[in-house]
Amino acid sequence: MADVMNVGVNLEAFSQAINAIQALRSSVTRVFDSLKDGMKNKETLEGTEKAFITDFQNNLQSVNRDLNELERLSGLVGRPSESHPLHNSGLLSLDPVQDKTPLYSQLLQAYKWSNKLQYHAGLASNLLNQQSLKRSANQMGASAKRRPKVQPSTLVPHPQYVDDVITRIGRMFPDMSIELFRPNGTSAVLLVSLGKVLKAIVVMRSLFIDRTIVRGFNENIYSEDGKLDIWSKSQYQVFQKVTDHATTALLHYQLPQMPDVVVRSFMTWLRSYIKLFQSPCQRCGRFLQDGLPPTWRDFRTLEAFHDTCRM
């Protein structure tokens, strides 16, 4: 209803404004007409001069009046057009010659399409979220709905914020020490030492975990030139397996809206490896299978399983 009312007011103002323009034009024409005619029809010089000046003044005054009226009306016309849901493009509906320029109907069609597309994309992302394997799928799902709200704060958090989040997580787990390095630019690299069991290098990209590598407690974490070695894998099969599982965990714990929760869940999961050599498999009850201890930790219960026992 409001829209209809708005349009009504709009139209009235428009017609008044058009009338005002017509009035203005005719008054302006009268000025020039009288100027063009001059004083040729008058007989006495004095009388003609006086009459001509009054006439000219009258004409100018009417022009002035008409112009003021038009300005007043234009103020009225401008405001309602802004409240239209399609903004200025909504004015296209006022075009009386639909057959020649069907812009407005085409525009409505395009809007309908875009709405439908958004709706379907939302449905698809929901479905993909339910069985996501890749973080990219998750991010797209979230971006369909949440991008305008959340992304700006999560994609480029201040390094100080990342530091704070990491320190807070470090304080949560006393048996886990987390050191933060920034070897190249703002991206952080975490060195996580878990008891006397393992050391994990976690490469971050803002607050998203990019990759991780797990090595034994007695293995080198620095390369020969004294920098953190984030590439070479552990020489022990146990930790190679744990690295694989940690990578799986990275893909599992994904929540692009709240990346700090992801880091915390990942660290909680990683912490369950403090009993890597101590806990037997929850299914077969044994310590070793093919020479390896239970290297898998359930994502929810954190229970220990052999890689082949977890199915």
Partner: protein, 211 residues
């Protein structure tokens, strides 16, 4: 580098030392262990002389391990131990007036080295003045550094090829602060070998030469 446990395996009745060792080798290979060369641990005994009279002379053991071929371990009986360069042996010659080599007490342990996953297994025979005295099995679990953490796991592994003769918790593990295994210099391993050699030395020599 990891946690190591050295134990003695009794010779199966009715079989020679070599036959028992062969059975162990076969069991390991069936398990999937791969043979990786051989190993050798030896131990020489020195008497400390020139002590204050009345005190029993202390013993000094100088040991070598093929796992650390450039080092030499010297263990004082019931006291400190040190790890030195290989030419420590030459130094001992110069200290002849203080430490006398008891040549007859030289013990050697030789055998094969196997790798299975992250485990290192060494099966050796101990010889003392050219007579075979027994069989040793050394199991090392490389990724772990805390014996208390992985002992159950190691025990389960040893059960798979040793059966009932799985050793008890080695005493060297208990003495460490924080329970951490002494890593690089493998002093704990040498201590276990020394303990075992001393035990074997006290045992009665079997009637016949078992080798």
């Amino acid at each position: 580098m990891g946690v190591t446990c050295v134990c003695q395996v009794p010779v199966t009745e009715g079989k020679s030392v070599q036959q028992t060792v062969d059975v162990l080798h076969k069991k390991l290979e069936q398990l999937g262990a791969v043979k990786q060369g051989s190993f050798c641990v030896d131990c020489e005994t020195y008497h400390a002389i020139g002590n204050v009279t009345g005190q029993p002379s202390k013993l000094l053991y100088v040991m070598h391990n093929s796992e650390t071929p450039l080092s030499c371990h010297a263990l004082f009986e019931g006291g400190p131990c040190l790890t030195a360069d290989g030419n420590f042996d030459v130094l001992m010659l110069k200290l002849k007036s203080h430490f006398q080599n008891a040549k007859a007490h030289k013990v050697e342990c030789r055998g094969s080295r196997y790798r299975y996953c992250d485990f290192l297994i060494k099966v050796g025979t101990v010889t003392m003045s050219s007579s075979g005295r027994g069989i040793t099995v050394e199991v090392e679990y490389c990724p772990c550094v805390v014996p208390g953490d992985c002992w159950n796991l190691m025990k389960e592994f040893m059960q798979t090829f040793l059966g009932s003769s799985v050793p008890e918790w080695p005493s060297v593990f208990s003495t460490k602060p924080e329970g951490l295994y002494a890593p690089a210099d493998c002093v704990d391993t040498m201590n276990q070998y020394l303990e075992l050699f001393n035990k074997l030395r006290k045992q009665q020599v079997p009637g016949s030469n078992v080798r």
